[in-house]
């Protein structure tokens, strides 16, 4: 056997030894790392925020058929919770194999999850991250907050599961331990209940009455939290509600030939999110179909700040007459166009502080979130780009629950790239210009290098 062959043989044997040794070493050891791009096997950052609030032993008992894959998946998921917070312990109980435990917990259905914390008990309907985190959120919060949703102006319903409905928004409220109360200010006394953690108006179609405007503004000024989702396609003028917060609703229809989806210049893709507001935290792009425009007042009163959350490209404009033609003319407003704002108004009241003996001055803080499109949060569009995340962030900002929001990883799984005209132009430059240019350039360099070497050698 030649020396080379011997070397090859030794190398081969060593490779086998290494592979077998590696396998023997790995056998019985169970290490794991989540290398998926979206970390789909890890708990969502929002869940981690919720778990930070768990300061005492929290027991999770999942009642599952031990023989099924669900029990295995549940152990995997619950182990992640335990890893993040050692106060959390868990057990998976097969209620058929251990009916005594099922009776003790009063279980009557498979897949029931019982969580106990500081003497409180809640049940989760299934063993998935969203349900478990929501249940933990309920436990640490000690109860549910109430959010109020305005009706009476033709707003889409939270239980409407059609594409134009808002059932996905309803689910977000439910999963974040909010009780939803509908408020109709068009009947009876026009007063927004004071226990509303926030007031939402999702796309009013009909105009507001003066009493309603007064009631909403009075609520907002008294440290209220309001989200106003306006629409360009209705007769409801939201300006009486937006102007006290430094924002003017321009109406019209935003046209953005450079950043839009599906060849429809009114199906606007927003990539400019110029603020540092927590409402756009983790938001990459938004899709706002059929949006109107907003303008921020130049002279804001003391204590009032307005963040421009989202703006269209410089090639866009507000079309004042969309029924005629989508062509920029002198009546239109040139872009970039602001389509979402966040107003924060703080003022000092001379009395009312309850946290110190004897009272004293207190700071009253109002927050108002305004968007100029109502289509982006319908069932058809909520999961486009970062729309869902934008809403969830807005909800957290309004109710000041930044650390107490349970959402799933899917909220942050925005990995699509809409083929806007701007992006098409970049691809064209890259594929037709840059890449062939580099290849031709490299060829020419090689050619001249070869000729030079040949000349030298001759």
């Amino acid at each position: 056997m030649s020396r080379r062959a011997r070397r090859a043989l030794i190398a081969g044997v060593m490779l086998v030894v290494v592979v077998v040794a590696g396998n023997l070493l790995a056998y019985g050891h169970n290490a794991q790392a989540d290398l998926s791009a979206t970390h789909r096997f890890s708990l969502a950052p929002q869940t981690k925020g919720v778990l930070d609030e768990v300061k005492a032993p929290l027991k999770v008992t999942a009642f599952l058929n031990n023989a099924g894959a669900t029990a295995r998946d549940a152990r995997f998921l619950l182990a992640r919770y335990h890893e993040l917070n050692r106060h959390i312990s868990f057990s998976v109980v097969d209620p058929d194999a251990d009916p005594t435990a099922a009776r003790r917990y009063g279980i009557s259905q498979y897949s029931t999850v019982v969580l106990t914390y500081e003497g409180r008990r809640v049940e989760a309907p299934s063993v998935d991250e969203l349900d478990i985190s929501t249940a933990i959120l309920r436990l640490v919060r000690g109860g549910a907050k109430t959010v109020c949703v305005l009706t009476g102006h033709g707003e889409p319903a939270l239980d409407d599961t059609t594409g134009t409905g808002l059932s996905k928004i309803g689910d977000i409220f439910k999963h974040n331990a909010y009780d939803v109360r509908t408020v109709d200010l068009t009947v009876g006394q026009a007063v927004v209940p004071t226990d509303c953690a926030a007031l939402f108006d999702f796309g009013p179609r009909d105009p507001f009455g003066p009493q309603e405007v007064q009631a909403i503004n009075a609520y907002a000024k008294a440290a209220g939290r309001v989200m106003l989702v306006a629409s360009s396609l209705t007769t409801a003028d939201p300006n009486p509600l937006t102007q006290p917060w430094g924002v003017q609703f321009l109406g019209g229809l935003v046209v953005d030939p450079q950043r839009s989806d599906s060849g429809d210049p009114t199906n606007v893709v927003i990539e400019d999110l110029p603020s540092t507001s927590p409402v756009v935290d983790g938001v990459n792009r938004l899709q706002f179909p059929a949006s109107a425009g907003l303008a921020v007042s130049r002279d804001l009163r003391e204590g009032l700040t307005v963040e421009r959350l989202a703006a269209t490209s410089g090639a866009s404009w507000v079309e004042s007459d969309p029924d005629v033609a989508l062509q920029f003319d002198q009546n239109d407003i040139p872009g970039p166009v602001v389509v979402a704002t966040a107003s924060d108004d703080s003022h000092v009241e001379t009395s009312g502080e309850q946290r110190v003996p004897g009272g004293g001055a207190r700071i009253v803080r109002s927050r108002v979130l305004i968007t100029a499109s109502d289509t982006w949060l319908t069932n058809d569009f909520l999961d486009r780009l970062s729309n869902r995340r934008f809403f969830v962030n807005g909800l957290a900002w309004l109710t000041q629950d930044e650390q107490l929001l349970a959402t799933t990883a899917q909220v942050s799984t925005d990995r699509s790239l809409p083929l806007t005209a701007e992006r098409q132009a970049r691809i064209l430059v890259l594929t037709v210009g840059l890449v062939p240019g580099l290849i031709i350039g490299a060829g020419l360099l090689a050619h001249y290098g070869f000729r030079r070497r040949r000349r030298r050698s001759s």
Binding site: A5, L9, V16, V19, N23, Y27, D96, D98, I107
Partner: protein
């Protein structure tokens, strides 16, 4: 040279096979998809089937035997907890099968499971506990005065 390369390739293949087998051994130990039988046979296999309690006993009519032979279980507990957990220490009823040769098979009927869709049963003389759908047994047990509440 050629023989050495062949040898290396063969060794590599053997090594990888060994490694693959080693890794595979940590997987499932194999499972059967067979439906477990508490009592085998057909309705015609058994000449008499009776259901009895300490105070009452009645023959199961032939028309009601199709769900009893074979008597199929949904789940099997090879290593059950104490029989009292399943109500099998004091069974509420017993199902007795009598064959043509005179041999008998007795099946004790315990309590319903947590969601009342199933009943715990045990073939007398066997340590194994079975979970059997309760639907077929409700009218049967009613014949000896036992009411099993329907699922919630």
């Amino acid at each position: 040279m050629r023989s050495a390369s062949t040898l290396v390739a063969a060794a590599l293949a053997v090594g990888l096979s060994v490694a693959a087998c080693g890794g595979g051994s940590s997987g499932s130990s194999g499972s059967s998809t067979d439906v477990p039988e508490v009592v085998s046979g057909q309705p015609s296999t058994w000449t008499d089937v009776t259901v009895s309690t300490p105070t009452a006993s009645t023959d199961v009519p032939a028309s009601a035997r199709k769900d009893l032979a074979p008597l199929l279980a949904t789940r099997v507990f090879d290593h059950p907890e104490a029989l009292s957990v399943y109500g099998l220490d004091h069974p509420q009823a017993t199902l007795t099968y009598k064959g043509r040769t005179g041999a008998t098979v007795a099946v004790d009927i315990g309590q319903p499971n947590f969601d009342r869709h199933f009943l715990y049963m045990q073939r007398r003389g066997s340590p194994v506990v079975y979970l059997v759908p309760a639907d077929a047994f409700r009218p049967l047990l009613a014949m000896v005065g036992i009411d099993i509440a329907p699922p919630a």
